[in-house]
């Protein structure tokens, strides 16, 4: 699939790369020469593609210093000088593709990697993938932490997910699924997954599948408009000071047990699958991944339940023991319209979603279980506002740059 391309001119490491030190101008001691060996997706050598600058940014995990290598074109080999340390990196190449109808489409290649140890001169192989920003419906807001409870000892479940129409045509949300990852985006749960079907680059392994009811044309979202899906559509502010009024939500995920409330004026989502037979709650630690899913034509709950079982084997990182997870289902990556990894800086290792769906993660806090997280929601940045006042949200499949934290109220 991927092949190393050498077509880029006399790509003999033109290394237009230079090192920039974000907040420190002192000369680094004995930096190491790192040669980045890129692998690109197939088909990038098409005449219709016009590349812009290529940048790869390295962040040292202890000092948080950043170093950027750039090239003015697609470079198969690129040099950068890095001090000894452990780095995360991410890179982007924007390009324009001229389509058959003659119009130009802005696209991008991305690369990400984590915990790379630099202790001397070395080659580093990096893999680029096509970034496919969603053009239509996307997740614009996630409120997973919830507001403070009445005693300020934890959160409440005035949580919600907002789905936004980022296109310029009316789109329909019924039939879409909202799913939560089975994997937890945390070091303690950084399992080595053994079952090939559960490879995040192939399928998204989920623990709950909620579906917006309708026949395909029942839940219209106009351009620039959104719908809100919440846990309990009640006026939380009447229950707990400072909480949200969710009575205006468009849907609630109602768990049909005597532990939940059901607002008769807010329709309920269909629950195709859940790992729990009681209530389902969003990750109030904000360390799972969420995705918006469009099933293929003709998919039914029965067919899905029969054909997409996702039980998997994994190696527990602490004990090394091979274990089995039974209650999980699969969502093929090509069904995913939009996906977001959530996490916190202290514990995040990698996301449950493929890098091509989310190259990074939306960060709730620097430390794990930070009590400051309550009352904060993830909100997508506005990329531009059209003349008629419609906001177009930023979607580069890189949640760290696409989302910001905002006060929920």
């Amino acid at each position: 699939m991927m092949k190393k391309i050498s077509f880029i001119l006399a790509s003999i490491a033109v290394c237009a790369g230079f090192v920039s030190c974000s907040d420190n101008d002192e000369p680094e001691e004995q930096p190491n020469l790192i040669t980045l060996q890129s692998t690109f997706p197939e088909g990038m050598d098409h005449y219709s593609i016009h590349f812009q600058d290529m940048t790869v940014t390295f962040t040292e995990l202890n000092t948080r210093q950043t170093y950027t290598a750039t090239a003015e074109h697609l470079a198969a080999s690129l040099n950068i000088f890095l001090p000894t340390g452990t780095y995360d990196y991410s890179g982007i190449v924007n390009y324009t593709q001229t389509l058959e109808d003659g119009s130009d489409k802005e696209l991008a290649l991305r690369t990400v990697g984590s915990s790379v140890t630099i202790a001397g001169d070395r080659d580093l192989a990096i893999t680029w993938f096509k970034s496919t920003p969603s053009q239509g419906l996307l997740i614009s807001e996630i409120y997973a932490a919830g507001s403070h409870n009445a005693a300020h000892t934890g959160g409440i479940r005035d949580a919600f997910i907002r789905i936004y129409n980022n296109s310029d045509v009316t789109m329909y949300a019924d039939g879409l699924a909202i799913v939560e990852s089975d994997f937890v985006n945390s070091r303690a749960n950084d399992y080595d997954i053994l079952t090939p079907e559960n490879d995040r680059d192939v399928n998204f392994t989920v623990g709950v599948v909620w579906v917006i009811p309708g026949n395909g044309h029942d839940v219209a979202i106009e351009p620039g408009k959104s719908i809100t899906v919440t846990d309990q559509a009640i006026d939380w502010s009447a229950q707990v000071e400072g909480a949200l009024d969710m009575t205006g939500a468009d849907f609630e995920w109602y768990d049909d047990v005597a532990l939940d409330t059901d607002n008769p004026s807010v329709p309920n989502l269909d629950k195709w699958f859940s790992y729990s037979n009681t209530i389902w709650i969003m990750s109030n630690q904000c360390n799972r991944s969420y995705a918006l899913v469009r099933f293929p034509e003709g998919m039914t709950a029965d067919k899905y339940l029969a054909d997409y079982k996702g039980a998997y084997d994994y190696i527990h990182p602490a004990t090394g023991k091979q274990l089995r997870k039974e209650k999980a289902y699969l969502i093929p990556n090509e069904w995913i319209l939009d996906g977001v990894n959530l996490g916190n800086r202290e514990m995040y290792v990698r996301g449950a979603l493929a890098s091509s769906i989310d190259a990074s993660y939306a960060c709730i806090s620097e430390k794990n279980s930070d009590p400051q997280r309550f009352g904060k929601k993830f909100s997508r940045k506005v990329a531009m506002t059209t003349v008629d006042g419609r906001e177009i949200l930023q979607d580069t499949d890189d949640s760290a740059s696409d989302f910001i934290l905002k006060a929920a109220k």
Binding site: A151, T153, T247, D256, D262, N277, L305, K321, R324, K327
Partner: protein, 849 residues
């Protein structure tokens, strides 16, 4: 007649402790006569458990061994048994005894081993049948002993004279047990004032005791008191365990008209106090959530024994009574700040119920008052017979016990539960009927001399039943018969290098029966609320929630007693003060108690309010809404006999004579244990998932074993050096746990059959595996799930020393466990597993004035 074959002293003591000491006088005379052969260790310091020379495998722990180990509670003595190694005290949870069991084998559902080990203190068994304390707080379940037997934390050791732990087949004189017998004999008679102060890394202990001579001839009194203050984590004074005990014992021994009359009486108090509070500094609003559990128990025991002074066929008769009562109060207070708005099912009546909602912030108070009372009466008699070749005892007796809890039970405000989704309701304990058991036994214990061979045979039969139970119970007046036989054959001794070498071989088998306790006979009701109408309107006055409350009776009237079949073979060699005993045993109990799920059906209505306009008719009511009917499969757990406990192993004890010159004795004990814990019946299972909006409408029945095999092998080498001249005793114990392992039993994961919501049972077919719903019943396991998890060697070097000063009036002692420990890293699935240990130490001072 071979002098070796005489009934050894500990064997003749299988009756109530006090009776023994009287009857033993005769044997003591014989022992003295044979002292030269019997062993050079007599009269010497023995700081380890001694293997009994009797007809079954038992460990004897005397005062010296207890003093040497420096215990805080009875739990610490278990280390002395073959197969066990030293453990740090764990006072933050119930300490249960699991004899002959691999150390890590204690999963839920296998409590019959500890429940079925009988603790008999001065002839009166500790009755836990009416223990009912419980909490719905999962974090505190480990502190409960309901249905689990005796909590060894509550037994102080300082007023104990000796302990005999029968691991093998006990005499039929002891019943209502499956797994073992712990006989505790407390100090008696005139004794100097003794005091002990002990401190270790977690606790302080103080003890004082004295035996007084009373003005009447043959009358003595003993007083003792003990106080223990243990912090579970010494850095945290909010969680602790305290014990206070007090005992007054009287012993009157008179000869009246040719009859020896002995009357023992005791009044005892033990209080245990558990505290566990949160740190208010860690909560934002400084609330203090706490858990306290207090148990104040008193008992009054009497033994009356008469015995003709002449040797007659009638040897003795005794009447033992015991009355105990405890006031138990468990209290929890918790500030509950809900994370969501929970409906509040509070109905205590079955059927349709309208319910309200829990507040978002409230204070939950939860109290459990238990008042278990028990009484015990035993009439025992002994007859003595002799002829040229055969001599022995006949024993017969009757026993009656009653246990009833008079407590108010769980008392709390249902509108302020500890947890939302509470499936229980306040329950008084005092409406639970008394548990009464009537038993009788007859036993012959004889010594048969054939030439230079001696056979020692113990054969008995015990019959027992529960009486006064509702006639609907299988167990009502159901007699159980426990035949038990032990045989020991002493071969003629050989003379090797001028000293006798004695071989003994023995074997025994027997059935042991434990009746279910109140918690198993009368389990709590299970309350389930199924939603019929959930209408949380934005306008408060129109909100309505209706549930159908199902009350599932979990009583299992066909519950049976748990029965353990044991057999063992033993060998013993004694030579020149050295002794080696080896026992191979097997135990099999296929009807141990377990909470197992059963399929029930909940049929209720689903009311449809989607077309309802509350602005016209106000809040909806189930009387005027359309509905459909639904049936849900509910899994209800109830007490059953479906646990299987199989034990196999080899126990060995080697003790050498004290080597002259270095004045050191070596004791090696250890065991290989293989414990298989599993289910003895198929199990019902319904996955806890939602598929297509509903819980699964099927439950599967699996005949797979839900259990594991546990193994352990250890040796403890104890070198103890006694230097009388310095009044010093030092011991070094090298405890090697060569390995422990566990392996889950293989399961297919395929149900044998399944049941649908209509209650029809279907055979499992290959097509079912393709159905989107039925296929959810297939349980899948990882390839390595059934691998053996083996943990290699762990070695600990434990040092103990006692030194006596000032004519033995002052003793000082210290111990360090794991002074050095060796726990090599090992690899498992490619990862290095490291083990960390740290030493544990304590010291004490003993006064004897």
């Amino acid at each position: 007649m071979s002098p070796i074959g005489s009934i050894p002293r500990e064997e003749a003591t299988d009756s109530i402790a006090r009776v023994d000491s009287i009857l033993l006088a005769e044997f003591d005379k014989r022992e003295k006569a044979t002292e030269g052969i019997k062993g050079k260790e007599l009269g010497e310091v023995v700081v380890t458990a001694r293997e009994s020379r009797g007809v079954t495998s038992a460990s004897l722990i005397n005062r010296q061994a207890m003093a040497h180990i420096q215990p805080s509670s009875f739990t610490d003595l278990v280390e002395l048994l073959p197969g066990f190694v030293s453990k740090d005290p764990d006072m933050g949870k119930a300490n249960l005894i699991n004899l002959r069991q691999a150390p890590q084998a204690s999963p839920d559902g296998y409590d019959t081993s500890s429940l079925g080990t009988s603790f008999v203190v001065d002839g009166v068994p500790v009755n836990t049948s009416a223990e009912m304390q419980t909490t719905s707080d999962a974090n505190r379940i480990g502190r409960m002993t309901t249905g689990k037997g005796v909590d060894m934390r509550s037994i102080p050791t300082d007023d104990i004279e000796s302990v005999e732990i029968v691991r093998g087949i006990p005499s039929v004189e002891y019943g209502d047990l499956t797994s073992g017998l712990v006989k505790i004999k407390r100090k008696q008679g005139v004794r100097a004032l003794e005091a002990r102060f002990k401190a270790d890394m977690q606790s302080q202990l103080f003890f004082v005791g004295k035996g007084f001579k009373m003005p009447i001839e043959g009358w003595s009194m003993n007083l003792s008191a003990d106080y223990l203050d243990a912090k579970i984590d010494p850095r945290d004074n909010r969680e602790n365990f305290k014990r206070a005990s007090f005992s007054i014992r009287s012993n009157l021994n008179r000869d009246i008209r040719g009859l020896q009359l002995v009357w023992d009486a005791s009044i005892n108090y033990t209080g245990t106090f558990e505290r566990d509070k949160n740190d208010p500094d860690l909560t934002v609003n400084n609330t203090i959530d706490y858990y306290t559990s207090d148990i104040n128990s008193v008992s009054w025991n009497n033994t009356l024994l008469i015995r003709p002074q002449q040797n007659r066929f009638f040897n003795s008769a005794s009447l033992t009574t015991g009355v105990s009562y405890a006031y138990e109060h468990l209290r929890q207070q918790k500030t509950v700040a809900s994370s969501r708005l929970y409906p509040l099912p509070v109905s205590t009546t079955p059927g349709d119920n309208y319910v309200g909602y829990l507040p978002m912030l409230y204070l939950a108070d939860f109290d459990v008052y238990g008042k278990p009372f028990s009484a015990f009466v035993k009439l025992a008699s002994r007859f003595r017979y002799r002829s040229d070749r055969i001599s022995g005892w006949l024993k017969a007796g009757l026993e009656y016990t009653i246990a009833k809890n008079f407590g108010e039970g769980q008392v709390y405000d249902l509108s302020h539960p500890l947890t939302a989704g509470n499936t229980s309701r306040p329950r008084p304990f005092n409406d639970i009927p008394a548990i009464q058991q009537l038993s009788a036994y007859i036993e012959n214990e004889s010594e048969i001399n054939v030439g230079d061979h001696t056979l020692h045979l113990q054969a008995g039969l015990r019959e027992s039943q529960l009486v006064g139970l509702d006639g609907g119970y299988f167990l009502s007046w159901r007699p159980y018969f426990d035949p038990r036989v032990n045989l020991k054959w002493t071969l003629p001794y050989m003379t090797v290098a001028g000293e006798p070498m004695v071989f003994e071989v023995g074997a025994g088998t027997g059935l042991h029966t434990k009746m279910p306790v109140a918690a198993y006979l009368f389990p709590d009701l299970l309350f389930t609320d199924e939603v019929q109408l959930n209408y949380f309107h934005d306008k408060e006055e129109w909100r309505t929630m209706n549930v159908k409350t199902f009350i599932d009776d979990r009583v299992n009237r066909s519950i049976k007693a748990a029965r353990n079949l044991k057999w063992e073979v033993r060998g013993n060699i004694s030579y020149s003060g050295n002794n080696l005993s080896v026992t191979y045993f097997r135990e099999r109990m296929t009807d141990a108690f377990r909470m197992a799920t059963e399929v029930r059906y909940h049929t209720y209505n689903r009311y449809d309010a989607s077309g309802y306009d509350p602005s016209v008719g106000g809040a909806p009511s189930i009387d005027n809404l359309p509905y459909s009917t639904e049936t849900k499969i509910a899994m209800v757990s109830r007490p059953t006999n479906s646990s299987k406990v199989e034990k196999e192993g080899v126990e060995f004890t080697l003790s050498t004579r004290r080597f002259p010159g270095i004045r050191t004795r070596l004791t090696v004990n250890g065991a290989w244990f293989k414990t298989t814990l599993s289910n003895s019946d198929g199990l019902w299972y319904k996955p806890t998932i939602i598929v297509n909006g509903k819980e699964l409408h099927y439950a599967g029945f699996y005949d797979d074993p839900d259990g594991s095999v546990y193994q352990s092998f250890n040796t403890n080498f104890t070198f103890d050096t006694d230097i009388p001249r310095l009044r010093l005793n030092i011991s070094l114990s090298i405890q090697n746990m060569w390995y422990t392992s566990n392996r889950q039993l293989w399961r297919s994961g395929i149900p044998l059959e399944y049941v649908d919501a209509e209650g029809t049972i279907h055979k499992w077919t290959a097509e079912a595996a393709l159905d989107p719903y039925l296929s959810q019943l297939i349980r899948s396991y990882s390839q390595s799930a059934f691998d053996e998890n083996r943990i290699p060697l762990a070695t600990a070097f434990n040092l103990k020393a006692t030194k006596k000063l000032w004519d033995d009036r002052i003793g000082i002692a210290l111990y360090v466990n794991r002074l050095v420990s060796i726990t090599p890293d090992y690899e498992r699935y490619g990862t290095i597993q490291r083990r960390y240990t740290s030493p544990y130490f304590g010291m004490e001072i003993n006064l004897r004035l």
